[in-house]
Symmetry: C2
DNA sequence: CGCCGAGTTGAACTGAATCAAGAAACGTGG
DNA sequence: CCACGTTTCTTGATTCAGTTCAACTCGGCG
């Protein structure tokens, strides 16, 4: 049933125009991270392109210098890396979330992360050099970027506390609170690696909860 | 013998003048995070005060709204929080490091963290409202702050990977690589909680390594 | 000198990993 | 639209790293 809802959305997403992605993205950004001057908005809009992906497409390969930052309008994606040949999911993004190969985007080094779509997705894209240029040109944009980074930093801080002292079960419970519909949209295996536990352990936790 | 070296430094630290703390702090900041205009440096210097603490003094209490950011010139400090009555160390700072009650500083909420000196310390201090003001006034200072935040974010990201997939021993080894002299300056118990392991486990790891 | 907190050592316990099979779900081509 | 192969998820048995609890040692300080 949940499935049907999301199918409808996925069909609908093809109706979203590029302009709509760009403009609504900028609007959401401003709402969360700080207002921009009209001239800055105009410059920013120039720098944003729109990308569309199907289900489970690899968007960024490990080893590439990945200077794309995606802001999702529709669908979902994940960042992951390989640890002993296993995919470890590191970050999920849904509507109105950012995703990028964080190390590569901010340092221009080859990315240890892959990025892949989960569901079909539509996103606004900005390139790191353009972002740098906009930051240099517009003080208010630099301020907005600082807010985004601060926000991300605090989220990572929270996650460290969670990883260090919560049991596997607690971590799963908390994830469900933060993303109630994640189980309908993301493979269980990806969730397990995100939580730092094995598929088997997560499976057992889910079994216990269901009863 | 290491002890004596640091005793000399500790004595010496009383010789550091306030001006020296402020100016050398600003110099180090610029070297790492971006140049500032002369007028900005002047404004910044106005906003920095100097704080001195003895050994093991609590600097920020849990529950307080803590809008101080410290930049250490000498000595060391740690941020920690209580988990089931036990102190969990979350961040160490040595010379040229920052330390603040990260959540409180950036959100103005009551701090879940304590901050305490470890060794006697001397630090430059800036208050969050002053930092905000300087960011608003000077684009180059906002840029510098963004760089600091980005850097912190990437460090936290690294730490998540480390926490999630390294064994207790690996985590300790890596800590020693990053801070070779930490064992001479910080209580073993603080290191254990920083690594997310018990004192006993760390003790056994150290025993194994010594042999 | 004796206390006290920090660190060490030992023994028993436990949560989660690993290894190994089986069951479901998924999508691809006939 | 169904059959088959592949991937994902579940279930069970065993193992292991790290915790917990408890006793003991050591070095510094009143």
């Amino acid at each position: 049933m949940q499935k049907q809802d999301s199918d409808i959305n996925l069909t609908a997403c093809h109706d979203i125009s590029d302009d709509e992605v760009v403009l609504s993205g900028i609007e959401v950004l401003q709402r969360h991270y700080g207002r921009l001057s009209d001239v800055c908005v105009k410059d920013l809009a120039q720098c944003i392109s729109v990308a569309r992906f199907g289900k489970s497409e690899v968007i960024i390969e490990m080893g590439a210098v990945a200077d794309d930052l995606f802001f999702l309008r529709q669908g979902s994606a994940r960042a992951y890396y390989l640890k002993d040949g296993r995919e470890i999911t590191d970050w999920f993004a849904f509507e109105h979330d950012f995703i990028c190969a964080i190390n590569s985007f901010y340092t221009q080094n080859p990315s240890p992360h892959y990025i892949a779509s989960i569901e079909p997705m539509v996103a606004g894209v900005i390139h790191a050099p353009d972002m740098q240029m906009l930051c240099r040109k517009h003080h208010d944009f630099e301020h907005l970027c600082r807010n985004i980074t601060t926000d991300t930093m605090l989220r990572l801080q929270q996650r460290i506390v969670a990883l260090q002292f919560e049991s596997a079960q607690q971590k799963y419970e908390n994830l469900l609170v933060k993303y109630p519909e994640i189980t309908n949209r993301v493979a269980v295996g990806h969730i397990a690696s995100y939580l730092g536990i094995t598929n088997e352990t997560l499976s057992r936790i889910r079994h216990k909860r269901a009863s």
